[in-house]
């Protein structure tokens, strides 16, 4: 995962997660992402996970941690592209990704972010 798979729309960063995330690459990914958030003052990050085959507890943890890091830097993270099979499996397992909101697709994610960012930092309380 390198910088070239990162897109920017306004003050929102979009990263598509593909291939294998493991202990080596996850740190590199988080580093890269957070540095970009800092450089661009991004207020929102959209993580596209439609290419992931499964989400196990490890992946859920990675996503949750990443979102927490982004939060500390003032950004809101939204996950898109969870396929129904993965959603069902996660619910069966009782997996919960804290700190991360989800949206059906890119449009929906951008809309949510627009509202949130526009309404200011305290708007999340209403959600």
């Amino acid at each position: 995962m390198d910088k070239t798979s990162l897109l920017k729309i306004g003050d929102v960063l979009i990263l598509s997660i593909e291939g294998e995330i493991n202990d080596f690459s996850v740190v590199a990914m988080q580093d890269m992402l957070l540095r970009e958030v800092a450089n661009t003052s991004a207020r929102g990050v959209i993580l596209n996970i439609s290419r992931l085959e499964i989400v196990d507890s490890y992946m859920a943890r990675v996503l949750s941690d990443t979102a927490k890091m982004i939060r500390l830097m003032g950004g809101i993270t939204i996950l898109v592209g969870i396929n129904p099979m993965i959603a069902l499996t996660m619910v069966d397992m009782g997996l919960d990704i804290q700190e991360v909101k989800t949206a059906l697709n890119l449009d929906a994610a951008l809309e949510i972010l627009r509202d949130l960012i526009l309404l200011g930092p305290y708007s999340e309380a209403s959600l």
């Binding site: 969870i82 129904p84 959603a87 619910v91 919960d96 989800t102 059906l104």
Partner: protein
């Protein structure tokens, strides 16, 4: 060559006798649509029993024939007993077959065949029940697109774990395919609300949320409300409304839409 002709002659005679015996017993009673088929199968049975049957088991040919008889019986509306009796109706003819083994073995084989036809009979009826069940499932869990972005799922009847699985899969696929943002789950038609139903609702809500959509539960009657509280069911943060119409109104407002009465303008 002559001997073979004699054998064939004998088999034909046996077959005819068997047929007339059948007519006076089973076929005299019920309507059998597949009479011709059973006739043909009867002849095949006689031939197969005369040939070499393995020392153990029934070989390959006989079970296939028996399966066909079971199907014919099922389709013809015969009871399991009547279908088995078709097999046992061959008993009087056993000792007249040109079979190389012992009479005891032939009788034993007939018994095995009788049991096998029953097993096939039940297996086939299970399949029919399964198909009917699938049809019923389709009918009773429709997913309705109320509006762009709003899906309604009225649950009717009883819920079992197999059905809940299938409905959930169907719902989640529909959400992703249609880009629906609000799902209205109406439980007016659910006969009993117990912990199984409650868990199903919670699970559905979690899955729907995971996809980025919202769930609204409607149709909770006063009785169901009381039952749920007594059971200690906690729907947590799931939004509910008493009737479907209220759920629709809420769904629309979540999508920043509303219904206005043009007459009042």
């Amino acid at each position: 060559m002559n001997k073979e002709n004699n054998l064939k002659g004998t088999l034909n005679d046996l077959h005819e006798e068997w047929l007339s015996q059948m007519e006076s017993t089973i076929w005299g009673h019920g309507e059998i649509r597949n009479i011709v088929q059973v006739e043909i199968l009867g002849m095949k049975m006689l031939k197969a029993m005369e040939r070499d049957i393995p020392a153990e088991g029934l070989g390959e040919e006989l079970p296939e024939l028996i399966k066909e008889i079971a199907k014919a019986g099922l389709q013809g509306g015969l009871t399991p007993r009547e279908t088995a009796m078709i097999i046992f109706s061959f008993r009087p003819f056993l000792n007249r077959l040109n079979y190389k083994g012992s009479a005891e073995r032939l009788n034993q084989i007939l018994d095995e065949m009788g049991i096998l036809v029953l097993e096939f009979f039940f297996e086939s009826s299970d399949n029919i029940i399964h198909t009917q069940r699938q049809d019923l499932l389709e009918l009773s869990t429709p997913i309705i697109k109320l509006w762009e972005g709003i899906l309604a799922l009225p649950l009717i009847g009883t819920l079992d774990s197999k059905r809940t699985q299938e409905v959930m899969e169907k719902l989640l696929n529909a959400i992703v395919n249609q880009g629906s943002k609000v799902i209205i789950l109406d439980i007016t038609g659910v006969s009993t609300v117990d912990t199984l139903v409650a868990n199903y609702i919670l699970k559905t809500a979690a899955a729907v949320n995971l996809l980025g959509a919202k769930l609204i539960i409607t149709g909770i009657s006063p009785e169901i409300a009381q039952t749920m509280v007594h059971l200690g069911v906690d729907l947590g943060g799931i939004v509910t409304r008493a009737v479907m119409a209220d759920g629709v109104e809420l769904a629309l407002s979540l999508l920043k839409m509303k219904i206005i009465n043009l007459n009042k303008e």
